[in-house]
Symmetry: none
Subunit: 208 residues, 4 copies
């Protein structure tokens, strides 16, 4: 995807990870635009010239970082579906994991949400495709719930979008929420709301 001057693909992976790590530190402090390539090189402990052997342009670093964050965030999400007992618990577990994940990567996700626009069209679409596929995964789960008769959700596509959107409420609105409420409280209300929205059969979910 990213054009490099280096042939050894193992090395490319290693160095790009190195650059990615270095860049994230700088981006955290200064944001993408105010981070200079020189700083990123220094923070990556790589020379300016070498850095450009592993990327083509500054934006490529942003792409690397995007990919890296999404990879961490979405790591193993497909396995989660298999682990837990009955379907509703499975689902609750999934929301819970997703929420903790997004909260854990709070700053990274905020970064992604504010800087995806700085990618060029092609790279942006690749990133959005990854996010899309997570929504699709959730949509599939909701449909399965419908089939199993535990949910009754008319528009799984829309709900999947709402649900994944709600998961990032902490990264995007934490500044207003966290001074007053804990992540736990937020999560419990979210789960309750989501389950109600899905018209779960049986006992309503009682927030702890």
């Amino acid at each position: 995807m990213i054009k490099t001057k280096i042939k050894d693909t193992e090395l490319v992976k290693k160095r790009q990870k190195q650059i990615c790590r270095g860049a994230m530190k700088v981006f955290q402090k200064k944001g993408y635009h105010d981070a200079s390539i020189r700083e990123i090189a220094k923070s990556s402990r790589i020379s300016l010239g070498s850095l450009y052997d592993y990327i083509e342009k500054k934006e490529d670093i942003l792409f690397l970082v995007h990919n890296n964050i999404l990879e961490e965030l979405y790591r193993d999400y497909e396995e989660i579906g298999d682990k837990y007992g009955n379907y509703i618990n499975k689902f609750i577990k999934l929301v819970r994991e997703g929420f903790y994940n997004t909260s854990f990567f709070r700053e990274e996700l905020l970064f992604i949400y504010t800087e995806t626009k700085s990618l060029d069209k092609e790279n942006r679409q690749e990133i959005l495709k990854k996010e899309s596929s997570y929504v699709d995964f959730i949509e599939g789960l909701i449909e399965e719930g419908n089939r199993q008769g535990v949910f009754e959700c008319k528009k799984p596509g829309i709900y999947a979008n709402i649900l994944t959107f709600l998961l990032i409420i902490i990264p995007l609105r934490g500044w207003n929420i966290l001074p007053r409420f804990s992540e736990e409280e937020m999560l419990e209300e979210l789960i309750s709301m989501i389950l109600k929205g899905l018209n779960v059969k049986g006992e309503p979910y009682i927030p702890k």
Copy 2:
């Protein structure tokens, strides 16, 4: 707030509005960082020198634009509460208006969400305060609903945050939603979900 060299406050207002309008056009096309002051001046039909009589630094323009967008967005929201018949309809109406509003200002809101970080601490907090006060207003409505016995919401503060967050789902996730669903569909599901979440008494809301 913004330090100007000009004393005539009426003129300052007029020119700042002029700058704001010019800047928004440029920001739309290029984003904040890639918009040069020269372009903004040209687009505002004001000379480069004059521009700096009405602002101190580039960031001030971003602040002007933020204020302007939020003002448009939140214009008259307090009146809405008064207009409509019973409380639930009132509430539905409010959500509906809010949703249409945010969808109408879709690009502007996306801009705000991605560029608030570029404001310095002081200006950023002033902007966030405005957003906060909208959440507070919603929180107040929910509490009133509780008092009137039409809602049963244990954590109005959290719900207010969820609700206001959901209103901007189109600006932030429209890229994934709008290719598959209409704004109308989205809105109906949102209303239904929100009302369920608030444990509204009586008939459940049926999405159109």
Copy 3:
């Protein structure tokens, strides 16, 4: 032709001349490619930022210099035709002037001949057009000589090209000629050869 950020056209002319002069000094010493914009700015006694208010890119400076040199070189060439007595003398005078001119601008012409290639297509063509028009002028003179019956030249277009080419022999081959022969000697032989080539009627030209 060159896009500037400055509106005052008089000032643009003045500054561009200033830049042109400064650049020529640097080009003389280092050539076009090894001359840095910084040096050119310094040599022009203009700040780096200001320099870029009067040009768009480095190549524009090359274009300015080209134009300037050709202007000096071709200054008043059209008037020369009118000044002198009989047609042959007129012609000889013209060759003489042309030769001295090119010899005077020896370094500048060598520069042009080696760096025209560095202009982009559009600018290069504009420069070549100027050179063309001088050839056309010479062609006209030869045709007039034919009409007046003092020359008998079958292919004035070709001769005009040969003649103008011969005029730059000093700039291009001076390194081999001047150590052994004087410019005068060269010139006399050129005139003699050219007149023979044109089949001038009457007494042959005797080189001094």
Copy 4:
């Protein structure tokens, strides 16, 4: 001349030829300054590191190319003198061959004429010496013609310079000539002019 790290002189020759060929392709497309060593290495199918075993610096490649072109251009010129019948025909033949040669190597010669300046003093002088020696050869021919009584040329050194200069009119001014005239036409006029200039005894040369 060029300092190499490799001892095997046969290999050095082979690789330098290889580099030369690769470089010429790149120079053709981009010119000397815009050709990067990387590209040249790739075009020569030699590794970047190896390349520097056979040259010391970029300029050395330019020198190799210069030499190579001049070698091709001047290949066998000394033999030509011997081949043809009477002296004038011999001479005409020589001019003809020289002209076709320079036209054939049109782009290469233009390259040489515009880039010799990029050689350092030492290398430049070596190249110029080669060109000089061709002029000297022509000078010798003219003197021989004088001795044989077929020419009457007072300044063979000057004429040799003029003549060799005229031979490169196509590479240097083809852009203005070739759109209107054929190489053949040009050549015929050149021969006619040169012979007149040499005061050839007997019938004048009639251009075809």
